[in-house]
Symmetry: C2
């Protein structure tokens, strides 16, 4: 009988390990990304997990002979000799003189679009999204989501270092946390249930259990409008922490997380940052402005007429970011004390002026990427606010157990992963920073 | 104007840091878990993020005087002197002589059930689940999900060390990966869409991009039957890897991951393992048996009559685990080469006997916790198999782009987080290992 011991053999050599094998023979695995036939030899670019490496085929290197079945997009195992060479800028690099090519699989058809140039040239976004299984094979496209991995990883690592517990809460829920019409309904064995808009209720309940919790998971919004900044399903990076002194503790934790994320990207994802030519923001301190004061600046400095006194228009978010950049040289700005009317029922009103809340948004390069704040922890205060909004308190019995049996002062936030990625990488459309976007017109692939 | 610098101040002292403060004054934060009044003094047990610590109130320790508003389930900040003492077994521990109690919040009502004993005594599972916001505050209950955090963390860490990329794929999907009736339908702006049964299609597409990918995320099954081992929403830990030599590579990677998880739990979650009195399995090697041979053993050794020749009954899984334990002293056993009929359309048939597949299940302590195997990578072979099953190939155009434009030999698996937790901790019902279970009767809290 066979046994499996779980001892993982080191796989094929990766391109960034070639230096250690100079003039040695190695085996690499990957896709034939590109073949360029020259006179008497060919360049064969192999795409591996995270890199591309140049191999050279020439009859004089070995007895192996190329044949017409070895085409682009074959999966191959290549054995050859590692030799030093130079890239276009004169930097030392390594390439492989091919001694053998073992074909592991062959495509049915050649690529319908060009994916093996530096970037997807002249491919409209809609085509890019429709052909995701192949467009993501372009090194620049796939680098976007490697950076996105790094952002989420940084968020998680930072919070775990700060004694947060990772949670996974249900996506099928009995009630929406944000209310409103943009909620997906689901038939659940005859019961009407919903897809979660936010892990809000669960995060709060679990503050009563672990004090500090976070989740990185999908949330769903039935947005009927088709904009460049909305998705119907996106990844929310949420945390919630108990025993806060004020909602400034939340902003501080977020600022710490963002600093950590940027450092992690520089350290572990420099290959992708370089490929994408990312202009990395610097964070030393993030300026903070009250919503009311921000509106004043918009009127007085930018001469814009206010039409919505309770929230920002997208253009106003851009103006505030422009202001933060010019005034404080910051790519980020916290706006605090949003009007109570536009904040959810669990937001804590400012005891000094209950028309406003102890809440904030974080704006980054022209766009809101986070909403957060202190929550109500007192049972009577919470019930009162729900009633004043015409909510049926009895529908929230399980949620309110948290308040009824002892909740500490607490608060938290939600940070949109795709929006953060989008603005970090300088995209104009959030779909560029979403692997498989869902919007009112698209549920494929 | 305020600025936020993201420099996180060290919070209150945690119980496991008390040793460093012997005879010093510290401040701790947490919930009053339990008050036991004695003659002339009281024990006050404080529950912190991950621990409980014994404090002692007595008038002689300070000028501070207890009052009737300081009750169980208050959130408090306690200042006091750290003194060495002994637990019931004579081990050294530290407690705090209270100098001051600052009450941060007060519950509306006393707990309706007892949560501050060692475990939830005489609380039926259904009550436990209905009252999750408070029952999870019981130290033993919350320890379950701290261990669960560790399991998922170990899976992730191990795969990242082995060059896997973390992915997050859509939960609203255009087609089910597993087929069958147990799929939730959703009205999506007039289109009929589904909740994902598995990230299968996306994992495979992304093997073409990153070669090795994993995801830890929710999946949904519209199970109509109410059993102790099924959930309608659960967390699937999935990976998929390209350039495999055989499906044994998948089993090896899983075995490596399980070993890593068990080590991580022992190292970082020993507090919880001890509290839960977990009998940890040992893995040196996991035995492997073919499905056909397993059925023979069930007939010949266990004298059971086979009714389903294509799959295991739950009782048969138990028998095979019994066999693995007795024969190989293993809590785990891989069963391979399941009949093609009962495996999904993307499973690779065994070229030596196409009635069987290059697939496996992993059984652990009486239950299947993983299904995995090699997948078809050849376009024509995949289309052929879909047609032979009466599937509409045109509905899977985007999925099949992966095969059409070059897919390497690959395979992967899905590992149910709750089932693994359940069997590791020795529960009889998967709901015990699920924070907020969804089943045919339950969508709350």
């Amino acid at each position: 009988m066979d046994r499996i011991d779980g001892i993982i053999q080191k796989g094929a050599v990766e391109p960034d390990e070639l230096a250690a094998h100079e003039n040695g023979i190695v085996t690499i695995e990957g896709f034939i990304h590109r073949i360029r036939e020259m006179t008497g030899f060919s360049f064969v670019i192999i795409r591996t997990k995270r890199d591309v490496v140049q191999c050279i085929y020439a009859p004089e290197f070995s007895d192996f002979r190329w044949n017409e079945n070895i085409v682009e997009n074959c999966s191959v195992k290549i054995t050859g000799k590692v030799v030093a060479s130079q890239d276009a800028k004169g930097n030392k690099r390594y390439e492989i003189q091919i001694h053998n090519v073992e074909v592991l699989s062959t495509p049915k058809e050649p690529m319908p679009i060009v994916i093996n140039k530096k970037q997807l040239d002249n491919v409209p976004l809609d085509t890019n999204l429709t052909m995701r299984p192949i467009t993501l094979r372009n090194p620049k496209e796939r680098a976007i989501f490697k950076v996105q991995e790094g952002i989420a990883r940084g968020f998680r690592e930072f919070l775990m270092q700060n004694e947060f517990t990772e949670i996974r809460t249900p996506k099928i829920v009995f009630a929406g946390a944000e209310g409103g019409a943009n909620i997906f309904k689901l038939d659940y064995f005859g019961k009407k249930v919903y897809l979660t808009q936010s892990p809000q209720f669960y995060k709060q309940m679990l503050v009563g259990v672990y004090e500090r919790v976070f989740e990185i998971g999908p949330v769903f919004r039935a947005e009927h409008h088709d904009t460049s900044r909305h998705l119907n399903e996106y990844i929310s990076m949420d945390f919630e922490m108990g025993f806060i002194n004020s909602f400034y503790d939340i902003m501080n934790m977020e600022t710490g997380a963002l600093k950590y994320i940027l450092e992690l990207l520089k350290k572990e994802y420099s290959k992708e940052l370089e490929l994408l030519q990312v202009k990395m923001p610097e964070i030393t301190e993030i300026p903070v402005i009250r919503f009311k004061d921000a509106k004043d600046i918009i009127v007085n400095k930018y001469k814009k007429k206010i039409t919505d006194f309770n929230d920002f228009e997208p253009e106003e978010e851009q103006l505030m970011c422009d202001y933060a950049k010019k005034q404080f040289n910051s790519d980020f700005i916290f706006v605090t004390h949003y009007p109570s009317k536009k904040r959810p029922f669990y937001a804590m009103d400012d005891p000094e002026d209950p028309e406003y809340t102890l809440s904030f948004d974080l704006l980054f390069r022209g766009m809101e990427i986070t909403t957060g704040g202190q929550r109500i922890h007192d049972y009577d205060m919470q019930v009162e606010k729900m009633k004043s909004r015409g909510m049926k308190v009895e529908d929230f019995e399980s949620y309110l157990m948290f308040h009824k049996y002892g909740a500490p002062p607490h608060g938290g936030l939600g940070l949109g992963l795709e929006r953060l990625t989008m603005n970090l990488l300088g995209f104009k459309n959030v779909r560029n920073a979403t692997m498989f976007p869902r919007d009112i017109n698209r549920v494929t692939p």
